[in-house]
């Protein structure tokens, strides 16, 4: 009995110190000048635009990384080809490389003056760095591995028998994928989507390099928080942080609300 309590206390204490108390303090500080002030701070045109941009990042990066993630996991698990191990390792690169480095790398490729292909894009009238396309690329880069990593173990566990059964029953490759494979891995995909969304919402390092942080133009919610903080607008910084935290929380909750309903049967 005693050791059980010790274990629990240890786990809870660790979480409280690292996560609970700091996040709680953000909430407290956001409302230090009252709820009205906090609401006002996050509804200014700059703030609204920042949240809008963050949503754009999520809306583009999450679907693309989900489709890529599922296809990539299928290739890694179901196929044998040269370079499979390399692909598998490459997927983890965004985990290993610091986002700041990712931002700098994007500058080297797409930078307008000395980027590898930036000049060509500039001639076509497409600006990538210090503009939305570059920010989307950065967000996609850092949130790439989650779906792949969540789907691979599920795909392994499900095996190939159901797919083979579908084939003998007359289903073509597309029918088999949409009617058998995808439903079988749906919870892996859903969890991957939640993690990808959370990561895309919170991206800061790579964005701060490639966005240029032009207030009201290329400033996402995280960059907005940093900007307010630098200008000693504590209420603005903390209130925006609260909104970001609530968005992430909502994604996690949405997942937990749908999941038990289906899994209960």
């Amino acid at each position: 009995m005693r050791s059980k309590h010790v274990l629990r206390l240890l786990a809870l204490g660790y979480l409280a110190l690292l996560l609970g108390i700091p996040v709680a303090l953000v909430f407290v500080n956001a409302f230090q000048d009252g709820i009205a002030a906090a609401c006002e701070a996050v509804t200014t045109p700059e703030a609204q635009h920042a949240f809008y941009l963050t949503m754009v990042m999520v809306a583009v990066a999450v679907p693309l990384n989900t489709i890529f993630g599922v296809l990539c996991a299928l290739a890694i698990v179901r196929q044998r080809f040269r370079g499979r191990a390399l692909l598998n390792a490459m997927v983890d690169l965004p985990f290993a490389v610091s986002p700041v480095v990712v931002g700098l790398a994007l500058l080297l490729v797409y930078g307008r003056r000395d980027g590898w292909v930036g000049e060509w894009f500039a001639e076509q009238g497409i600006q990538i760095i210090f503009s939305i396309p570059g920010m989307i690329l950065a967000t996609m880069f850092v949130s790439l591995p989650f779906v792949v990593r969540e789907v691979i173990p599920v795909l392994r566990e499900v095996g190939t028998e159901q797919e083979q059964a579908a084939a003998t029953l007359g289903a073509g490759p597309f029918q088999t994928f949409f009617r058998v494979t995808l439903p079988a891995i749906r919870w892996g995909v859903a969890y991957g989507v939640v993690l990808t969304t959370a990561r895309a919402l919170g991206e800061f390092g790579a964005l701060s390099v490639v966005s240029g942080g032009i207030s009201g133009k290329t400033e996402t919610a995280t960059l907005f928080v940093e900007d307010r903080f630098q200008r000693f607008d504590e209420t603005g910084a903390y209130a925006a942080s609260v909104v970001l935290a609530l968005l992430a929380l909502a994604t996690l909750l949405a997942m937990n609300v749908i999941k038990p309903k289906e899994a209960r049967r």
Partner: protein
């Protein structure tokens, strides 16, 4: 529909799964592929289904070359050892799958699913999920699912292998009756000789990727082509340097021409069957299977000296 397998070979890296295998399965028959694990029987079944491509050779279904056709265009029913149930679909949706992907009208699908669930005694389970069924029920569902599309041939890969002994026996008898009702050309894989003997009309014995013998259960038992088949399809004892079925040995109280002297070590009563364990003159151990009535008549006792003689000649192969 008939199946013809014409000199099929298949290798997996260094491992030869099938080597120059040829086989004919008559229309409407029930055939067992029997052999030890790793003998190639599952690979052969998967080649017929199109789930494996042979390295060489041909597969003909209903006289038509199917070697290059993908499984979804062969119109075969396939039943897997571990059911391969679609876990996210109800029993009815599982059974309907083949018809749904063929875009058949809803009413037709409903009627057919009802019919099939009755056939496999799962009416009333239509809205359950596979996780709510027992192993035997899941396998019957898989069978209904395979039959739903009216396949030209039905292929079963160790269909009862994952079930416990009682359910196995039940389903075996049931498969036999089902075949009499549905009459679809059926091939099933098993490593259990009793199962093959009980269910199949024709047995194909496979070992090391080659066919050892093809024949009726009785032919295999009484006229095995070689000692592998002899040992695999039934019990054997050794007498005078030859293999013989233990029930084909006669026990005599007196010496006789060609009879070997032996001492009874132990008499085991197994109900109807009696096992007599003996040591031959040269020190070799052997055993004889006889009936309770015969053992009583002979008044056999432990430690007694007797003479053993082959009762029949035809089913002896050199040891």
């Amino acid at each position: 529909m008939s199946i013809v397998v014409d000199s099929v070979s298949k290798r997996f890296g260094e491992f030869t799964a099938l080597e120059d295998v040829s086989l004919e399965v008559r229309d409407g028959s029930l055939t067992a592929l029997l052999g030890p694990s790793g003998g190639g029987k599952s690979t052969l079944l998967r080649v017929i289904a199109g789930l494996e491509a042979p390295d060489s050779g041909k597969v003909l279904i209903a006289g038509e070359d199917a070697t290059r056709k993908p499984p979804q265009r062969r119109n075969v029913g396939f039943v897997f050892q571990h059911y391969a149930a679609f876990k996210h679909m109800t029993v009815a949706k599982n059974v309907a799958f083949g018809l749904t992907v063929r875009k058949r009208p809803r009413e037709e699908i409903e009627v057919r699913v009802d019919e099939l669930l009755k056939l496999v005694h799962l009416d009333g389970f239509a809205h359950r999920y596979p996780s709510q069924l027992s192993g035997g029920q899941r396998q019957r569902m898989a069978l209904a699912r395979a039959l739903a599309v009216q396949p030209r041939v039905l292929l079963l890969d160790e269909p009862f292998g994952a079930l416990d002994a009682t359910v196995r026996k039940e389903l075996r008898a049931w498969l036999r009756r089902l075949h009499d009702e549905v009459h679809v050309t059926t091939v099933f894989v098993t490593h259990d000789q009793e199962e093959a003997m009980e269910v199949a009309e024709q047995i194909v014995v496979l070992n090391h990727g080659r066919i050892e013998q093809t024949g009726s259960p009785r032919q295999l038992y009484e006229r095995p082509a070689n000692d592998f088949v002899m040992g695999f399809v039934g019990p054997v004892s050794e007498l005078s340097g030859r293999w013989i079925r233990p029930h084909d040995v006669e026990i005599l109280h007196e010496p006789s021409d060609g009879a070997a002297e032996a001492m009874i070590d132990r008499i085991v009563h197994l109900g109807f069957e009696v096992r007599v364990e003996l040591t031959l003159g040269d020190g070799e151990k052997t055993w004889v299977q006889t009936t309770r009535a015969n053992a009583q008549e002979l008044e056999l006792t432990d430690g007694e000296i007797v003479w053993l003689r082959a009762a029949t000649e035809y089913d002896r192969v050199p040891a």
